[in-house]
Symmetry: C2
Subunit: 239 residues, 2 copies
DNA sequence: AATATTAGTGTTGTTTATACACTAAAGTAT
DNA sequence: ATACTTTAGTGTATAAACAACACTAATATT
């Protein structure tokens, strides 16, 4: 609420915190879940890696700011974006009071047009289980929370599809689940469940490989409003 | 992240949004889920009801600010508190740019020592299905989201216990679930499930009523780290 | 003593999960 | 050409969880 206590129309005479929007950007690279980090060039935390972000402008909403950051860092638009949490401890930035609204972004594997992958860049993809810890600020905490959210939402949303290209095989989809959940899933059960859900649309296309060729499928966005997709592989869901 | 773009140590020369913390306070009153609202005394939205909240101070964290608001409005401490979402649309406050970090609080039924219940007070409890809509600002949206979160977390957390007094019967607990979920649950299945979960501790106390006296139980906080409590009555969980 | 009221248990059929064995279609080696 | 390897995909048997609903229990009221 904005006031039952009197509040001035001119807010500038009050001490205000700064507000940033940070975006934890995930993508699947070489079948492994990666996160995009930037290397800091000055104090504090000089040389350490951080989650990309920046100050919010007065004429953009939080989500607009997140999309702007995302596009600045990766050049991609139209990606999955969701608000994660707002971090506001008093001393999380040693310079001044900064409140950070964190977002999660999922970038599709085939949109890897991003030119940030060379070794000397100050913007780089890291596998989520080989992070350059400790990260700057409280970003270890933010990233851990982002992963936890990702895992938890995987099972009751269609979030995994955001990481896949237009056409994919069922075993590739299974691989994403395994990547994010960090555990093996049963092939037969996965096939059964994903098919029963009706969430996939068969295409006439196949992909050849070393063994038997595989059928390619497409994510069904239209879905007649019928049965929701609920994927649950474990019972201890918790965030 | 706070900067790959250069950032001044003196932040005051930039235009900053104001940051408020709003707390959606739920409680169970007369076996019905209620929410605490305050009536606005001035423009904008004069006379309309709003979620209690206020500006954040530079020397307190977000959660500390939420607890302060909560205590100012209700006089209670030690309540369940959880961050809900951060609302930051550009024009949600017509006066200036305000970003609001919303929290949910659950106040136990027996801590209703609060003196806000008289008819003419500008602070009042409303049943969640009889709200004085439209609320001020975007508070309809915030409240709807809070309810949705409450329902969704009910099934996989121990959140419901936060609304109950120290001792309670199993059917009272069932009643809370029904209140929040908005649907009837099967008595037998509820008994079985809650008992199997091991989350309740039996006490020697009984309560007399009109029919057969009822056993009183207590929420088991210690819980040997064993099996997690997962309550799921429907399959279409989604937020 | 019968009835109403609230508390609490048991039973049964159905669905869903889990583990794991099996079949299928391609390439590669002998 | 035949057997072997590799990856894809199906089937099945058992166990666990769920949902509906009938039943028993302990008190107060008529």
């Amino acid at each position: 609420m904005q006031d039952e206590h009197p509040v001035p129309y001119d807010v500038s005479k009050y001490q205000l915190p700064a507000v940033t929007v940070d975006v934890v950007i995930f993508s699947l690279i070489n079948r492994t879940l990666h996160v995009l980090l930037v290397q800091r060039k000055r104090w504090p935390f000089e040389g350490q890696w951080a989650i990309p972000g920046g100050f919010i402008r007065l004429d953009e909403s939080l989500e607009e700011a997140a999309r702007r950051e995302l596009e600045e860092e990766t050049g991609v638009r139209d990606v999955y974006l969701e608000q994660l949490y707002t971090f506001g401890d008093v001393h999380r930035d040693p310079r001044h009071r900064v409140i950070s609204v964190a977002y999660i972004a999922l970038v599709r594997a085939d949109v890897q047009t991003i030119r940030v992958s060379d070794e000397n860049s100050d913007v780089r993809w890291f596998p989520v289980d080989h992070l350059p810890t400790p990260l700057a600020f409280d970003h270890d905490q933010i990233l851990a929370y982002a992963l936890s959210r990702l895992r938890s939402k995987l099972e009751y949303t269609t979030l995994a599809f955001q990481l896949l290209p237009e056409l994919f095989s069922i075993l590739e989809l299974k691989h994403i689940y395994e990547q994010i959940l960090g555990e093996k899933l049963d092939k037969g059960n996965f096939y059964r469940k994903i098919k029963e859900s009706g969430i996939l649309e068969e295409t006439p296309y196949m992909r050849e490989g070393r063994g038997r060729p595989t059928r390619l499928w497409r994510f069904r966005r239209d879905r007649p409003g019928d049965k929701q997709f609920v994927f649950r592989w474990r019972e201890d869901r918790r965030e």
